[in-house]
Symmetry: C2
Subunit: 496 residues, 2 copies
């Protein structure tokens, strides 16, 4: 791929002058048309030629309308970025529909950088490439127009440039000291770069290698490629087709919910004492978590009125307000709808040492959105793999992730709805929707069972909690959190 | 103020039970009505009783609808927060219209904390209080409903609580080790706290002291105060009146623009060589700035077609893309309109070591918004003081701030409009608006002259640049930036 790009003849001054006006006007017009389309555009610029990348970005800044352009330069991760999974900074920076995002550097450079620092042996390198492929696939499947450019100048030519800059420092001030070490890295890792370019080159996330030896050739290839692809997307209105990953076979008729024992627990248990003990333990564990920077994500799903809110309050009562955030998930707002469906969850992830408590979650995609038809079949089919990839990033980063399904039976739910309606400040919690959802109980059971089966990863299994007996259920939840957090802290050598 | 709050009798269990339902329903309803109003609500909770503050916040989380609530806990500033002026984190976190923000801790605690760490002698303490007043005033003047609560428990009672927790650690797990040092600080600085509460207590930003000795008394005072004030604002629809700060007298008929020499510079200057030299110097300085974390803000204002874009490109050509961001300022979008008018500028401020280049800026408030009537007279009058306070925060934080007015005469502007219209990719830059603005030339001169006179602070004076001769103007700009940056780096002992 690298050689092919260097085989084409260079663009002459005359040819450039002849082709510039059309592509420049074309780009501005395409960007204007894009604003009312549903496509986010993501241009990734990277390469072994740092100055070439810089100049290419500056050309785009000059030719495009900067008001509808979001440029992000990804350098070494900041301390805050290091507290999160690797792709957090990319998710946060994704362009909205109708906008163009320019990412400079990005995940391919992270992978090469980790390889250069010898933090990645071959299995880790392959795993990192797989993550890159998963990320690019999910963006494209949700409609992002993704173009990747690699500015390439061969090692010998790079060395000549650096030598010239050393001899004439006043005239070659764009060369920086770090360019020497970049030159060394890219020379040493040329095979890894080739491998990366080849395994992450897909129709929905293609690489375009730009010839870094000649400015005009590089620039024209960049802008003409963008214009062609962007124009086609705008004119056809059709996003790139991304084949769906195969869905694995499910075990026949999983029935986890049907087997939950909803009978009240045995008499004689002192709930007050157990609740106190569990809260005291959680308070202690959360302080240790704060000290060592351990992040936790709690996901609460389950039937309406199953007791999510009450359970969450028993948890937060044991915590200092600075150590947690409760985020209720409702229908996405305008800005959330303008992004990939997972974007709003990535943005909520907890900082080091804190706990994110989600009252409903990304699982809405395969529950309410599936049952009510808000997501089409391909979208919620795809979501299982997307969710697994997302959660794997959380647990690989070291976060504790716990997923609770709060379970009650239909009769208990009805009794609770009726009780709510007679409490003035709880009335607003009951809407016609709640009664409509009751009518689709069996559809939700089907969706939940498939969700358990497809997203029950070893590091983050589903906890199905019997909640007909609220007090017993809450203690069960608190004790599960304490156990998981204590185990994780123990793994890190923290005494609790 | 502290004693007064403790003088009231405590609320009995019966009285609490009787008053709870009404205030709880009232709060939920008020929050619902708020969503369609134009008021952002900011509740600040702080105090010498940390556990009391925590419990008060948790009560609000329980009683209000969390989907329309933005809680921010302000602890020690993060590394990123330290790169910015002190109030950056508060500006970033401001609630939008229709939402309730809960700030825990916040600027009053920062001031007390700095005082406790002996980083603030009396003049610094008074300056910090003045900044707090300025911040609260500008929020309220733009319509924020601001309520501040101080949870107070006297030192003797705090000491008794800590002793109890030491004796019975299993039962008093809410007490943390840091509570001992907080107790010590608040006991030692009680006079400073009294002074702070008293000088920052204004009708538009009142303090309410809550009695931390009794949960029911504290909670009921909190929610009843919020409900009363919120209900009144919703029912009258009128924000609190904030008296305008007096405008100082202007010198008679300032005429800085009329005295600019717009004749072309003398012949025989080698522009190419001077441009090269200035860019090489800027490249070098920006690398030093990156190394030492020096941030820079460049503001470009001036007539349409005066050459802002071309000047900015000559600057960015000398920089690495990771070291700068160019932000063009146009009409505010929906989310920007839902916030204080300065909010969108605060969000753009540069990280340590980088340069923010603004193509138009906050000065739009006293230029286009004044001339076209988008801001009412009181708003743009107030803006001079708001801008000075904002810029003082930048320069006090150590940022380099340069403000350029690019000046041409009407004949030159007309010639440039006509030239643009015959260049295909520049055509989109010319609209009917541009011709309309020309008709108001004299109004813009009046506005610009008043702006120069009122915002020309010593640390960041206006640079008025003659741009009829573009090449000379650009070199003037580049050399001014180099001079200012070099001087600032020199002050820090950096060799350049």
């Amino acid at each position: 791929m690298l050689e092919r790009a260097l085989a084409a003849p260079h663009v002459s001054r005359e040819a450039y002058a002849a082709r510039e006006p059309a592509v420049r006007v074309g780009l501005i017009n395409a960007q204007f048309d894009l604003r009312t389309s549903d496509a986010p555009v993501l241009l990734l610029l990277a390469g072994d030629d740092r100055i070439g990348v810089t100049e290419a970005v500056q050309l785009l800044h000059e030719w495009l309308d900067a008001r509808h352009l979001d440029t992000h330069i990804f350098d070494q991760p900041t301390p805050e970025e290091r507290e999160h999974p690797d792709y957090w900074r990319y998710w946060n920076a994704l362009p909205a529909r109708g906008r163009i995002g320019i990412f400079v550097g990005g995940w391919p450079i992270d992978v090469i950088g980790a390889r250069a620092a010898e933090r990645l042996e071959t299995p880790g390198f392959e795993r990192a490439l797989q993550q890159a492929r998963e990320f690019e696939r999910t963006l494209a499947a949700e409609g992002t127009l993704l173009l990747k450019f690699w500015v390439h100048t061969e090692a010998a030519e790079r060395a000549r440039r650096l030598e010239r800059a050393r001899r004439e420092p006043g005239r070659n001030w764009r060369v920086e000291p770090e360019d020497w070490s970049l030159h060394e890295i890219f020379s040493r890792l040329e095979d890894d770069v080739r491998h990366l370019l080849s395994v992450t080159d897909e129709p929905w996330a293609p690489w375009h290698v730009l010839d870094g030896r000649d400015d005009r050739t590089r620039d024209l290839a960049l802008v003409e490629t963008i214009l062609t692809v962007l124009r086609e997307r705008l004119d056809t209105g059709r996003p790139m087709q991304v084949p769906a990953p195969p869905l694995s076979l499910l075990p026949p008729r999983p029935q986890r919910l049907a087997s939950v024992d909803l009978k009240p627990a045995r008499q004689g248990v002192d709930y007050g004492a157990r609740l106190d003990a569990a809260q005291a333990r959680l308070a202690e564990l959360s302080r240790r978590a704060r000290e060592v920077g351990q992040a936790t994500v709690l996901v609460f799903e389950g039937w309406d009125a199953a007791g999510k809110g009450g359970s969450i309050r028993r948890i937060t009562k044991a915590l200092s307000v600075r150590d947690y955030r409760v985020v209720p998930i409702a229908a996405p707002d305008e800005s959330e709808r303008a992004h990939h469906w997972l974007w709003r969850y990535w943005r909520q992830l907890p900082r080091a040492g804190t706990m994110l408590i989600l009252d409903r979650s990304w699982y809405g995609r395969v529950l309410v959105e599936r049952v009510e038809g808000y997501a089409d079949t391909a979208a919620w089919h795809r979501a299982y793999a997307e969710i697994r990839a997302f959660e794997m990033q959380l647990v690989e980063r070291g976060h504790v992730l716990l997923k609770f399904w709060l379970h009650i039976d239909p009769a208990e739910q009805l009794a609770r709805f009726q009780a709510r309606e007679s409490t003035p400040y709880k009335k607003y919690k009951i809407t016609d929707d709640d009664y409509r959802n009751r009518a689709r109980w069996d559809d939700y059971v089907t969706a939940a069972e498939e969700m358990f089966a497809r997203t029950d990863i070893p590091q983050a299994p589903w906890h199905i909690v019997a909640m007909n007996d609220k007090k017993a259920g809450r203690i069960n939840i608190l004790e599960s959190i304490c156990a998981a957090l204590a185990a994780r802290l123990y793994d890190q050598g923290v005494k609790t």
